[in-house]
Structure formats: structure tokens, C-alpha cells
Amino acid sequence: MRKDIFVLVEHRKGEIRDITFELLTKARNMVQTGGFVYAIVLAKNGDNFIEKLKSEAHRILCIENEKLEHFHSDYYQQVLGSIITDRKPLLTLFGQTSYTMDIAPSLAVQLDLPIVMGCIEFEIGDDKIFTINQVYGGKIHTRFSFPSKNGGIISIQPGTFTAEQGDLSAEIERITFSFEEITNKKFIQFVEAVAGEIDITQAEKIVAIGRGIKEKDNLQIIEDFAESIGAVVACSRPIVDAGWLPKERQVGSSGKTVKPKLYIALGISGDFQHLIGMRNADTIIAVNKDPNAPIFGIADYGIVDDLLKIVPALKKKIMEKCEARSA
């Protein structure tokens, strides 16, 4: 019977990404008696990675090849497809990341395996795997299932589980693999986003805006308010997509991760991708018209109202008090 859990080690520019340690921690907690947690290292040179993973898994499978220097979903798929077919794990775990989104679905097709992406939890039943996913912007949860007989693939939202240091001593196995040359897709280079004038990751206070701002013209109200408390203005993805603020002001998984003393979220509903970028702020205040917005689940204080009513009132209050204090 299948019992092992495989975890793909995600790395970029020589560093293992946090999600890998989160997944390995979860895998150690979930693996059943007789099963092993495998860390799968695909790299040009895996030594540094192996060193950091020794305590985290029962076994490390390492495949080294020039072709694995940068992430390439097709080369990854070739080798993952082969080892999953040979070794028949119960589950292969990925993080819900940009790499995974490029490989897991087509790997599942190749292996004819069930796949659920973007889970926040999973359970191993007698003959089924169950997952829980956040749907409709986090307002609803769905419980999915698939038969576990042939194994399956799951991807998990980064930040869902807390990484803990393992105390294992992994057995290391190096495999050679001969790749089929991929000619229709080639990695060219990394492209860095243009650095802006303001680095929101360094800010102590952030006023962040989302869809609730409605119109670009309302930005000035926010800028004025932010200035009155000495904060910088950041935003959620839709504001950048609309071209109202530059990319470097975006908070969230595809933007910046911030940890300010104060984070005021205005008109941001708080989907998973945004929350992961700001949930470690010391104090979070949220203003949103929707009482069910997921942002209230993470905020310390909330106001259920239109930000365009609250912000001017707040600015007025702060100006009054400051004047009173300095008078």
C-alpha cells in the first residue's frame, strides 16, 4: 500500500524557498506508520540543499543535471514523472507557487493522477484523500476528495503551515537521469522588476488600498491621510493591474512581503495572496464595507463601512488632535 509522501524542494537562485520547509513539516506530521517523507532535490548541484534538508526528511532523492540549473517545467516533469511512476508515493506535495502552477497540472495529466491545487489542509483517509480549499475569495471552504489507490498530487498555499525544525537524519540517494532534450521552450533569464523610489518593505506604517477605492481620483484622499500619519501608500493587486500605482507598491505573494508596525487596509477584501504579504504586521486595522471580508479574520481592529467616509473622518480627527496637542 502507498504510504510515502514526496515533497518537491523548491529553490531559486541557490536558496530553498520557505514553502519547502512548511511542506516537509506538514508531511512529517501526516505520514503514516511505515511511510517515509522524501525530499526531492532537482538541481545542477544539490550538495548545499541536501545539507539543509538532512534533518527534515527520512530520505532525500537528488537528481543533478545541467538542465536543472533553472526551473524548467518540462525537465522537471520528465524526472518527477519517472520517479513517481517508479516509487509510487501516496502523495506528492507542492507549494501553490508560480513554479508549481507551471508544472503540477501537466504532470498530473502525464501520470493520470488526481490533483487538487491551492489547498489549505488535507487528510489521509482509509481509501481517500480529502482536501480543504478556500474558494470565492476565501468566503467559502470546499472539501474535495479523491481515491488514494493510485496516489495523487496536492499543492498547498504558502504560509498555511508553520515550518518547524525536523530531527531526522535523512538517507541520501542520488539518481542519474537521462533527459530528453526540450527544443520548444527555453529559459532565457530572470528579469528583475524596476526598483521604485519607495521601498514599502522598509516602511514602519503602511496605508494600503484595494478595490474599495473605486476610482483613481480617490487616491489623493489616501495620499493625504497617509501623509498625516507618516505612512507610505501600498496596495493590493487590482490597483497595480489598473495602473493606478506602480508594481513596487503591491503587497502580496506576487508583490512585496511587509512587516510594518501599522498596516491600515482600506477596501481590501483580503484574499490569500494578499494576506500572506502582510499578516505579520504588528497592528492591522481594516476598513471594508463587507462584514464577511476575509481581511477581518486577520485584522486586530475593523470598521465595516465605506473607506471614503472613514478616511476623511480619520484624517480630520488626527489633524484636530495634533493641533490640540501642539497648541
Binding site: S106, A108, N133, Y136, K185, F187, Q189, V191, G243
Partner: protein, 253 residues
């Protein structure tokens, strides 16, 4: 250059109070407003931009109820050539694999250079369709595209990674590209376009049953109430006072 664009009809749930149907299997969506999935709208725009540059036809394809015709018509009004709407009998039991299967079956007969999808749907958040489709059709793919520089038979594409980083690939056609939001500025349909769209063909694929469902929905439920914010009530003047007190107490102003 011929493109296929997969589009999905999704409800706007950002400020709605959601209910679940009696069987706990799907959203009770009677009172919700539906439109084209946000990323799919950007995908359609990308196909339209390529059509303007290189010519060719655009086929829209959507799996869903008959109301999907609205988003297909809107796409036709913007300049797509034709539409296909697939409505299987077991529509509400489909997983992304089964949906991709249905689309792949219809695509087989078409000539195409590129297949576009949105990178993720706002309802289920899976982000699987495009890359699953590429697997089924055995053609290369790029997901999460944020910039496309296309030529006749290949493109240089930037795809988005975490933290503002991107990686660039060269990909040969035919290929599947999943589009991230913000890549372009989706246009609005013109009145002229809307008139012309009424004469364009939408083909309906019905009375079929989707095959290959691997993942089943056990139930949907409202998330259990967890830790939640302390909510300030009152008029803006009163709530502002409370926020001010918090900021002052914590030394934030």
C-alpha cells in the same frame, strides 16, 4: 495567427453575502452578478492584440451553463471570430481535468497557434486549466505570463514569480499561455462590435457527459468563525475617534 481563448463565467462575490445550496455542493448564486473571469478578460485582450498585429481568427470557448453566451457574445463584440459553448449534463460535478478534457476534444478539429487562458479563476482559485490542457494536447506552455513579445512562430514571454521577480522563456507555437491580470488594458466592446457580434456563430455542444472526473466535491461550507477583528461601530466620527485612540495608545502617531 489563430488563437483559442478559454473563458469562464464567474460570479462577483467581493461584496456579496454568500449562501450555499441545500445539498452543500455549490454556491446558491441566484442573486449574484456574473461576468467573464478577470484573468480571462486579459487573456482575450492579449489574443485581440495579436490578431491586430498578425491577423487570424479567434475562437472563444467556454464550459458552463447557457448563460455563458453573454460572455461569449461580449468577446465576439470585441473582435473574436466565433464561439463554442460546452454544456455537459454533469456540469456541476466537473473538476479542472474533466473541463480540460471537454475543451481538448473540441480543439482537436481547430487550427491554432496559441491557446490562451486566464492564469486562475476567481471562483475556485485552482489555476489548473491551461497547463492541464497543454498536457492533454502535448504542446508546450507558459503560465502566469505578464509580457508577450510575439513573432510568427515563437514568442518571448515573461512569467511572474513571487516577490516581483520574473523569468523569461522562449516558446515555440503551438503553445498554451496562461495570462496573469494586469498584462494589458482590456478594451470595451463598441456599439458597432456589439451589432456585428449578433451575426457571429456560437456553436453549442450539449447532451454530452464529461468524462474523466477524478476529484469530487464532498461539501461546501462557510468557514468556521476564527479569530476576528474587534469591530468598531458608530458613525464615521465615532469610529475615527476609536482608531485615533488605538494609534495614540500604541504610539503610532
Amino acid at each position: 495567427m489563430n488563437s483559442i481563448v478559454c473563458i469562464k463565467r464567474v460570479p462577483d462575490t467581493t461584496s456579496a453575502t454568500l449562501k450555499i445550496d441545500a445539498e452543500n455542493r455549490k454556491l446558491d448564486d441566484g442573486n449574484l452578478v456574473f461576468s467573464i473571469n478577470e484573468a480571462d478578460n486579459y487573456a482575450l485582450e492579449e489574443a485581440l492584440l495579436l490578431q491586430e498585429e498578425f491577423g487570424g481568427e479567434i475562437t472563444l470557448i467556454s464550459v458552463g451553463p447557457k448563460e455563458c453566451d453573454d460572455i461569449i457574445r461580449m468577446g465576439l463584440a470585441k473582435g473574436a471570430t466565433r464561439g463554442i459553448r460546452i454544456t455537459p449534463d454533469n456540469l456541476y460535478k466537473l473538476d479542472p481535468y474533466a473541463i480540460a478534457n471537454l475543451i481538448a476534444e473540441q480543439i482537436k478539429e481547430l487550427e491554432y497557434d496559441l491557446i490562451f487562458t486566464g492564469c486562475m479563476a476567481n471562483d475556485d482559485n485552482f489555476g489548473q486549466l491551461g497547463v492541464t490542457l497543454a498536457g492533454l494536447l502535448n504542446i508546450p506552455h507558459i503560465s502566469l505570463a505578464v509580457k508577450i513579445q510575439a513573432n510568427e512562430d515563437y514568442a518571448i514571454i515573461d512569467r511572474e514569480l513571487e516577490g516581483g521577480l520574473m523569468e523569461q522563456f522562449n516558446i515555440k507555437f503551438p503553445a498554451v499561455i496562461t495570462i496573469q491580470t494586469g498584462i494589458n488594458e482590456p478594451r470595451y466592446a463598441s456599439i458597432f462590435g456589439i451589432k456585428r457580434a449578433s451575426k457571429k456563430e456560437i456553436r453549442f455542444v450539449e447532451n454530452i457527459s464529461a468524462q474523466g472526473i477524478k476529484v469530487h466535491t464532498e461539501k461546501m461550507y462557510l468557514p468556521p468563525p476564527g479569530d476576528t477583528a474587534e469591530i468598531f461601530t458608530g458613525n464615521p466620527e465615532e469610529t475615527a475617534e476609536k482608531v485615533y485612540e488605538i494609534l495614540k495608545t500604541k504610539g503610532l502617531i
